[in-house]
């Protein structure tokens, strides 16, 4: 079974992200594979197929793909084109769909639940729409093969069990299980890998017009609080004083 896992390169979650002169900055923190996408790679590899990792990004931004290769993906492809600099999720979905068609014979496409930069969480469903395939999102478990797929979706109310036919697009949650660590051999293979870079011309398309823009990015208002420490006394006295103070602020 041919599988594509879509990954994104993002600033490390430990990064202190700020706005400096209107530009988003994460200092010297590294760019890494989106943490949710590690679960997507794990879910893809667990299906025992032939797995290609796919990303959109600036040429040479291969860190996420190298992690995917080191974890065990067979191939990696980056779609890179200056015309995609302002791509929104709709544009990204249309380009990913075209790349998936070019890879050819793909039966399953796997996404993480969202990327930790834009926090959109819609690209899986949108790529499915662009492909005309069903989406089974937020999968906590996946079983795919023989033209069929069954997932347990993690929704607000618990789990919804959904079955369908392949080809299909899924997104996965952390419930899928811990992502495997890259093996030594995997890391060596990834470091030597030559990753093909496709342009929009290679996909036979022009840049989809973006409709979403971010005219302004701001640092959030700081929480201007100075903690009032409650102490002095035994736990019962401290607890009584704390309960009084919380109730006096009337937030509950």
């Amino acid at each position: 079974m041919k599988i594509v896992v879509c990954v994104k390169q993002v600033p490390d979650t430990a990064a202190r992200v700020t706005v400096i002169n209107g530009q988003v900055s994460w200092g010297d923190s590294p760019l890494v594979i989106n943490p949710w996408d590690e679960y997507a790679v794990e879910a893809a590899l667990a299906q025992n197929g032939d797995v290609t990792a796919l990303t959109l990004g600036e040429a040479g931004n291969n860190e996420a793909l190298k992690t995917a290769l080191a974890m065990g993906c067979n191939e990696a492809v980056i779609v890179s084109d200056p015309a995609l600099a302002d791509a929104d999720s709709q544009a990204a979905a249309r380009v990913l769909a075209a790349a998936i068609q070019k890879i050819g014979g793909v039966e399953l496409v796997v996404f993480g639940r969202q990327a930790v930069d834009g926090d959109g969480g819609v690209t899986a469903a949108q790529t499915a729409r662009a492909l005309g395939w069903p989406v089974l999102s937020l999968a906590a478990s996946v079983a795919a093969g023989d033209g069929k797929i069954k997932v347990e979706r993690a929704v607000e109310e618990g789990r919804q069990i959904v079955e369908g036919r392949l080809p299909a697009v899924i997104s996965v949650t952390k419930d899928i299980g811990e992502p495997r660590y890259p093996s030594f051999m995997g890391i060596r293979k990834a470091s030597r890998a030559v990753i093909p870079a496709w342009t929009l011309a290679d996909l036979g398309m022009s840049a989809p017009a973006p409709t979403i823009s971010w005219p302004e990015v701001m640092n959030p208002p700081s929480r201007e609080v100075v903690a009032e420490f409650i102490g002095g006394g035994d736990p019962k006295e401290i607890a009584a004083a704390l309960a009084e103070k919380i109730l006096a602020e009337k937030v509950i």
Binding site: T13, A14, V17, T18, V19, V24, W36, D88, S89, Q90, A93, V116, G118, D119, G120, G121, V122, T123, A124, A125, Q126, R129, P134, V135, L136, S137, A154, V155, E156, E157, G158, Q160, I161, E163, G164, P210, T211, I212, S213, W214, P215, E216, V217, M218, P220, R223, E228, F229, I230, G231, P235, I238, A239, A240, A243, E244, I246, E249, V251, I252
Partner: protein, 343 residues
């Protein structure tokens, strides 16, 4: 022509998620500013009553897609009926729920527009929406606009006020046509979560971290290895966290450290790779407050921290802090609230 603002009412088996009503309220506000109307859309099987409730919360009218084929939520049949009804709206509001988010994304593709997800603030510049949304898990805020129509927006729960219901308010409920469809997926079962208050809707959250396993006074039952004993200790700690949450009518949260250590399921995780919450009161117990955890809870109205380490970063966000042992403080705090709230 007056602007049509359409709101998708998300529900599970006929029970609306509260953020659906918050979206109706936000739509009403926009309609007031634009001189427009509010139409509620409800999709499912047996949803007339929900449509009437949406009108009571402030919609002018409602369109329902009521059919046996729509009994279980499935992305494609729901998206198909929505594409047929949302096209003439100026603005479409969805609640940010698992279903609302993906349906909004699919509608943006089907209608060749764009989607702005998980919005916490709405303003207008002329007839265009200027939405505010947290990005990088709340480390930054972005103003976001959509240049196409309809402008599709999903609203974060608890970010917009829930309107007051008016039981006397009435409006027209129209049934939309549901074309027969060959659905690509079937729902073959449900496993419902064990009740309780959901984290994203909770007004009060009591969260535990790695520190809940550090009670040296407890002696675990014989026969457990070190890891099992640690988890046993943590479960005793989370029981105290749960007792306090129960008295306050709240939900139980956890730090990533506690989830990764196997103390509590992932569905309880608050933070950048868990749930982003903004309750009225957030009580952090034995949580040091890593930047990824702060990203998930920093918009809470009031934060209270209980931690043994006076230098823990969580105290920088807290209105009230207690430097102490949560094993002593939590049971006493539960008792104190029980007395004062008469529960």
């Amino acid at each position: 022509m007056s602007a049509k603002i359409t709101v998708y009412i998300d529900h599970y088996k006929g029970a609306a998620l509260p953020v659906s009503w918050e979206a109706v309220g936000a739509a009403r506000t926009l309609a007031g500013q634009l001189g427009g109307t509010v139409t509620a859309i409800v999709v499912g099987n047996g949803v007339t009553e929900l449509a009437c409730t949406a009108i009571q919360y402030g919609a002018d009218d409602a369109v329902i897609f009521d059919d046996a084929i729509l009994t279980d939520y499935r992305a494609e049949p729901y998206a198909a009926v929505l594409a047929g009804v949302l096209w003439d709206a100026a603005i479409v509001l969805f609640p940010t729920t698992t279903r609302g988010r993906e349906l909004a994304g699919m509608a943006a593709m089907d209608l060749e527009s764009g989607v702005i997800t998980d919005v916490t603030g709405l303003a207008l510049a002329g007839d265009r929406v200027v939405a505010t949304k947290p990005v990088y898990a709340g480390k930054l805020l972005a103003k976001v606009t959509c240049s196409a129509t309809p402008q599709i927006v999903t609203l974060r729960g608890r970010a917009f006020a829930r309107p007051v219901i008016d039981p006397a308010r009435t409006g027209t409920v129209t049934a939309g046509r549901v074309a027969p469809m060959d659905a690509a997926t079937q729902v073959t079962g449900y496993a419902e979560a064990g009740g309780g208050v959901s984290l994203t809707d909770a007004g009060v959250i009591v969260s535990g971290g790695r520190g809940v396993s550090n009670n040296p006074k407890l002696s675990p039952p014989a026969g457990l290895d070190d890891k099992q004993a640690e988890i046993w200790r943590a479960q005793q700690g989370f029981k105290l966290v749960g007792d306090l949450a129960a008295v306050l009518g709240g939900a139980v949260g956890a730090s990533r450290a506690a989830v990764d250590a196997g103390y509590i399921p992932y569905s309880n995780q608050v933070g950048q790779t868990g749930k982003v919450v903004s309750p009225d009161l957030y009580i952090a117990c034995g949580i040091s407050g890593a930047i990824q955890h702060q990203a998930g809870m920093r918009t809470s109205k009031m934060i209270v921290a209980i931690n043994k380490d006076a230098d823990a970063p969580i105290f920088k966000l807290a209105r009230f802090g207690v430097v102490g042992d949560l094993y002593d403080i939590l049971p006493a705090l539960t008792e104190a609230f029980k007395e004062r709230l008469g529960r």
